[in-house]
């Protein structure tokens, strides 16, 4: 597992320029959403949580699809399987690496959101927790579907089509929890949403790990 994760992190480090490009894409998306709302400070703040996750969701399809580019280029993934490497180990290493990348992206987009939507909060640890759990919910199924579509010509189109319906519950919980953290949570409603998000994460990470072997083997 450590060997596989080390390889994933090394690959990500070598292509770190892409993360900057994806961040710019996410920031541009947040900027465009703010234009759509207009100069209504209250509305901007109300919808900031949703926009943050939309920006992250759109950016995630780019990073997830790209994460299998290196694996497919010289059939490197097949080479690892023939060593033999355990498919589940390869999956979790890739999913964790994608999760870390999305988490960094999410954390980097928070200041952009605060500036554009006037959505500052004093509950930063809770917000970071929601970002961590929400990006975990994107990463696990995203890695599985990225593997499924990696060899297809229309992968950039198919990945969001397959992924988005599956992650609706996690996305909904992330948006709700983020909004409550930013707008204030006098009734303590954020906690159930975070628990729900955690539950979906557990389901995604368990099921996708089990299915990955079937997806990548001939």
């Amino acid at each position: 597992m450590i060997a596989a994760l080390r390889k994933e992190l090394l690959l990500q480090w070598r292509t770190r320029g892409q993360l900057m490009a994806v961040f710019v894409f996410g920031a541009a998306a947040l900027l465009l959403f703010s234009f759509a709302i207009g100069p209504n400070a209250s509305a901007l703040r109300t919808f900031s949580g949703g926009f943050l996750w939309l920006g992250l969701l759109l950016s995630s399809t780019l990073t997830l699809a790209e994460s299998f580019h290196a694996e497919m280029e010289n059939r490197a993934l097949e080479g690892l399987l023939l060593l033999p490497a355990e498919p589940r180990t390869l999956y979790y290493a890739k999913a964790i690496a994608n999760w870390l990348q999305l988490m960094v992206l999410g954390i980097a987009l928070i200041p952009v959101m605060v500036v554009l939507y006037d959505a500052g909060t004093t509950r930063l640890p809770t917000l970071l927790l929601v970002v961590a759990l929400g990006t975990a919910g994107l990463s696990a199924p995203g890695t599985l579907y990225a593997a499924m579509t990696a060899q297809l010509k229309a992968k950039q189109t198919l990945l969001p089509l397959l992924l988005f319906p599956l992650i609706v519950p996690a996305l909904l919980a992330s948006v709700k929890a983020t909004s409550l953290v930013i707008l204030g949570d006098p009734m303590g409603q954020a906690r159930p949403w975070i628990v729900l998000l955690l539950a979906f994460d557990l389901i995604y990470w368990s099921l996708c790990g089990l299915l990955y072997g079937r997806v990548i083997e001939d």
Binding site: I2, A3, K7, A70, E73, N74, G79, L80, P84
Partner: protein
Amino acid sequence: MSEVAIDAQQLARRYGRRWALAGVTFRLPAGTATMLVGSNGAGKTTLLRVLATAIHPDRGSVTVGGFDVVRHREDVRKLTALLAHQNYLYESLTARENLEVVADHLRISRERVMPLLQKVGLAARANDAMSTFSAGMRKRLSFARVLLQQPGVVLLDEPYGALDPPGFDLVDGVVAELKASGATIVMATHQWERSAAMCDRAIVLEGGAVIFEGSAAEWNAGVPPAGPAASRAAAPRGETPPSQPAGRRRSGEP
């Protein structure tokens, strides 16, 4: 490993409606080197990929080291190493990092990496990214990757492809070394004369079927196969048998 290293019985594999392998049957004793020859599209690569468990057979059975390639895939993978057309390397990693990835997965000491790079003539480029390598250098690195695996069964698909003359000598040396260590070698190649000098056996594929199986020396000397090859394959039921060439063809020899 059992005495018979590879035992293929009526092995068939198809892509869509086309049978790439149509009932291939042969047995290879352990510790032998076998050259696998045939024209382009004869089924050599498919056969090697089935033996390496990269793809599964559609019909028939094959065991490697006594392990079935479908039911005991993991055991077969522990035994075999495949030098494939696709080099299984990461473009953005350096030569050394590529081998270290393999060493880490196999829990082999990383100290074995540099001597292997030295052996294949890439020590000076150890810290250069794979993306800067020529086709021949990639092939050399792939060879190092195979050697790192210390396999009992070595499957080489066009090992001489893209290499320069010193590279040819490198392949010859490595094959001789592997053979001396007791490894079973199957080598798909178009370098017939060169390979025949190194190999004990020859299997000739044509249209997905075996048309000759015997000693490499006999094949290279031009002895025609005695009658219909005992191992000649029958096409899987319900399909048109592949065309069976009348005899051994040498016209394509380089």
